[in-house]
């Protein structure tokens, strides 16, 4: 294992190196981000004005469905697995991931899965059109024929996630350098460890859900068919038992990134390290017992509504602990505002807004009004875009110099940030108003009183979309022609093992474990 990378394409096809695989994941994720983004642009272009302009309603439904699926499973999740691959071995002083060949496998499954998924758009009857939550019976009795390909694509993604999670658990539990005790691990490693457990617990549940669909559609079972004694609501329970932990699978690693960046640019250690660890574990635990807050309108018994309402609100407590700790870390710090820090601060502010709208949605009696409106759309884009995606963007700017030995152009980085920040808020803040005023989600057309804010929202979305082209340009320009950096510690305030290896990080690091004091 002493030698460097293989030559040419073979390096990427056959690699067992965690840095190569991390890079593959990150580029794949970015490609999917652009594909999902294209779908979003089509949605916003159609909604620019009331009435039907560009696409048919059927195609519009396929776009909302595919946008959600591609962004969640293709863009956000692989982005953080990519970061995990690159950074966890560096952060804990391991020579590589614990199971390097399986690591390669869990990546290469994804292109096949998404090839199949995206191919459904070109099949007879069109692609999935039942929303990214694929509720039965829309996704069973009334589904297009291509649903079977969708089902097997989901199976592939699940297999990839499970293997990735197993790899991360084995790496963190087994490959830490001597002296790197659990409570010394960087928070990014902690949040990923806990996320990996969430993945192992819920990806099989998702596999179960699509398997039941497959059987109902093709083999005459009646899981979701009341005629045979089943229940479509059963689908929603199973989906959200997966779905709610899934949103924390998306956000917990993002928390880890923010917990690395804020101390660096505040030049202070993270405030309340152990409370961060416990809060992460508490959030993960709670995420299993709140799923039916997505189902307040299906007709639950009153006791169920109350239980799920209060349990959901409880999540705000550990989440609040985190936000408090980030802010307290910055308090009286010697703060500087490089691009990663700007994204991190924006994360804290905007994620908190998303958390608050979540609390509003958690109030069962009010949710009956908000449910399936644009208010929900605004809520989850504040947590998923300004949360997960901003955090991923921050991570790229933060670690890119370590990865490729070149510094990005700070002015261009800041420009990207401001365009993204402004575009995002113009796109999604008005959606709160639209939702509260009663505009339902997932429709290709709307009533005239919603026209103004929709136009504003679309303009914001186009700005945010354009910002991503700038992001792509910045990353490529840095890799090709950025100013070379030599210092191991790229950021003066940074702490941790990843900053002790040379810059750019050599192909193999920590073949012998470092000593951790």
């Amino acid at each position: 294992m002493a030698h460097g990378p293989a030559k040419g394409i073979k390096r990427w096809l056959f690699t067992t190196n965690h840095k190569d695989i991390g890079t593959l994941y990150l580029w794949f994720s970015f490609a999917m981000f652009l594909v999902g983004g294209l779908f979003a642009m089509i949605i916003r272009a159609e909604l620019f004005q009331p009435g039907m302009q560009l696409v048919t309603p059927e195609f519009f439904n396929q776009m909302t469905t595919m946008h959600g699926l591609v962004m969640v499973f293709g863009a956000i999740m692989p982005a953080f697995v990519g970061l995990a691959n690159w950074m966890i071995p560096l952060m804990i002083g391991a020579p590589d991931m614990a199971l390097p060949r399986m690591n390669n496998l869990s990546f290469w499954i994804l292109p096949f899965a998404f090839l199949i998924l995206v191919a459904t758009l070109f099949m007879e009857g069109g692609g999935p059109n039942f929303g990214w939550t694929f509720y039965a019976p829309l996704s069973t009795t009334y589904a297009p024929d291509s649903v079977n390909y969708f089902i097997f694509a989901i199976h592939l993604m699940g297999a990839s996630s499970i293997m990735g999670a197993i790899n991360i658990i084995a790496t963190v539990l087994n490959m830490r350098a001597p002296g790197m005790t659990l409570m010394k691990m960087p928070l990014f490693v902690w949040t990923w460890l806990i996320t990996a457990f969430l993945l192992l617990a819920v990806m099989p549940v998702l596999a179960g859900a699509v398997t039941m669909m497959l059987m109902d559609i093709n083999f005459g079972t009646s899981f979701f068919d009341a005629a045979g004694g089943g229940d479509p609501v059963l689908f929603q329970h199973i989906f959200w038992f997966f779905g709610h932990p899934e949103v924390y699978i998306i956000i917990l690693p993002a928390f880890g990134v923010i917990s690395a960046i804020i101390p660096t640019f505040s030049r202070k250690p993270l405030f309340g390290y152990s409370s961060m660890v416990y809060a992460t574990a508490a959030i993960a635990f709670l995420s299993f017992i709140v799923w039916a807050h997505h189902m307040f309108t299906v007709g639950m018994p009153l006791a169920g509504e109350l239980y799920f309402m209060y349990a959901t609100m409880l999540i705000a407590v550990p989440t609040g602990v985190k936000v408090f700790n980030w802010i307290t870390t910055m308090f009286r710090g010697a703060i500087s505002f490089e691009t990663p820090m700007l994204f991190a601060i924006a994360f804290v502010i905007l994620f908190t807004i998303g958390g608050f709208t979540g609390l509003m949605l958690a109030i069962a009696p009010s949710d009956i009004q908000y449910h399936d409106s644009y208010f929900v759309v605004a809520h989850f884009h504040y947590v998923m875009v300004a949360g997960a995606v901003f955090s991923g963007t921050a991570a790229v700017y933060y670690w890119l110099p370590k990865w490729c030995g070149r510094m990005y152009n700070e002015t261009m980085g800041k420009l990207h940030f401001w365009i993204a920040f402004i575009g995002f808020n113009i796109a999604f803040f008005p959606q709160h108003f639209l939702g509260l005023a009663g505009m339902p989600r997932r429709y290709a057309d709307y009533a005239l009183q919603f026209a103004d804010w929709n136009m504003v929202s679309s303009i914001g979305a186009f700005i945010y979309g354009a910002a991503q082209i700038l992001f792509l340009y910045n990353v490529i320009a840095t890799i090709v022609a950025g100013k070379p950096v030599k210092e191991a510690k790229v950021w003066e305030g940074a702490e941790g093992l990843e900053w002790t290896v040379p810059t750019p990080a050599p192909y193999h690091t920590f073949a012998t474990p470092p000593a951790v004091k």
């Binding site: 060949r101 179960g208 005459g220 004694g229 089943g230 229940d231």
Partner: protein
């Protein structure tokens, strides 16, 4: 420098994973088109590729192990890997058990509530086993989902199968003890008995399915009872098949002399899997067969 290469074995770049991914991708695409009524060709090609690559992959791992490349730390990665894989399998079964409990305690009583019977399913009465589905209550024999006429008696084949599977967990444990005591003959013997018990279990299970389909009207389409019955026992049966195959491979390896008291991960992993399959069966026996009749 010696410690450098000994610290952890990181394999060279490898063609195995991407061909595994190719096999899986073809299987997925092929399965999608197959259930849609097209030819199973793509699926079969994928399956052949997958089988061949996995064969090569496990072969490579066994060779590396015999070459002494795996130290204790590498082995611990395998242990964590297998344990958490089994955990994910537990969660997979949990969904289907969850569906069973949900249907029995929530969905069926709701379908039999005054409102539902008034508006939708006139005359429907919830029961378990559900011989008369809601659709049947309304449409009679014309219904698509017809409940089973009879169900499997837990105290015949299922009881025998319980005894078989429980004993097989014991015999695989005996094999393990024999291996630890370096008693090669007993090790191979008990392992062979375990594989045999697994095969007998499967034989009974197939026979039971035949009975259900031919004589009891208990089929996959027999409403929610048939659905939960066949999905739970079917996935379990599939796992027994995999487990038996895994143990069979270990048996061949045992005969070839691959294992020693402190180098037997392949065998141990298969035996954990076997115990897991066994525990799931106990759940099935109680919740599907005994409490379901």
């Amino acid at each position: 420098m010696a410690s450098e290469s000994n610290y952890y074995y990181v394999p060279e770049s490898s063609k195995l994973p991407i061909f595994t991914a190719l096999g899986m991708g073809l299987c997925a695409y092929g399965a999608g088109s197959w259930v849609q009524g097209h030819s199973p060709m793509v699926f079969l090609i994928g399956a052949v590729i997958l089988a061949a690559v996995l064969w090569a992959w496990f072969g490579a791992v066994i060779r590396e192990n015999l070459a002494g490349l795996y130290n204790e730390r590498v082995e611990r990665s395998f242990v964590w890997g297998m344990s958490w894989f089994i955990f994910s399998e537990v969660m997979f079964f949990a969904v289907f058990f969850g569906a069973l409990f949900y249907v029995r305690t929530i969905a069926l009583p709701e379908l039999g509530s005054p409102l539902e019977t008034e508006l939708l399913w006139k005359g429907f009465e919830p029961s378990w086993p559900l011989h008369v589905t809601p659709e049947m209550a309304v449409a009679g024999e014309a219904a698509k989902f017809k409940g089973p006429r009879e169900i499997i008696d837990p105290w015949h084949i299922p009881l025998i199968n319980t005894i078989i599977l429980l004993s097989s967990s014991v015999t695989v444990h005996f094999a393990h003890t024999a291996l630890k005591n370096a008693n090669r003959r007993m090790f191979i013997g008990w392992l062979a008995v375990t594989v045999l018990l697994g095969a007998i279990f499967l034989g009974f299970q197939i026979y039971e399915y035949g009975e259900a389909y031919r004589h009891l009207g208990l089929t996959l389409n027999a409403g929610i009872y048939g659905t939960t019955f066949f999905m739970l026992t079917g996935f379990h049966g599939a796992h027994v098949t995999i487990g038996t195959f895994m143990l069979l491979v270990q048996l061949v390896r045992a005969i070839k002399g691959h294992f020693s008291a402190d180098n037997c991960f392949g065998f141990e992993a298969s035996s954990w899997y076997w115990h897991f399959v066994d525990v799931v069966w106990v759940g099935l026996f109680i919740f599907v067969y005994v409490l379901g009749s």
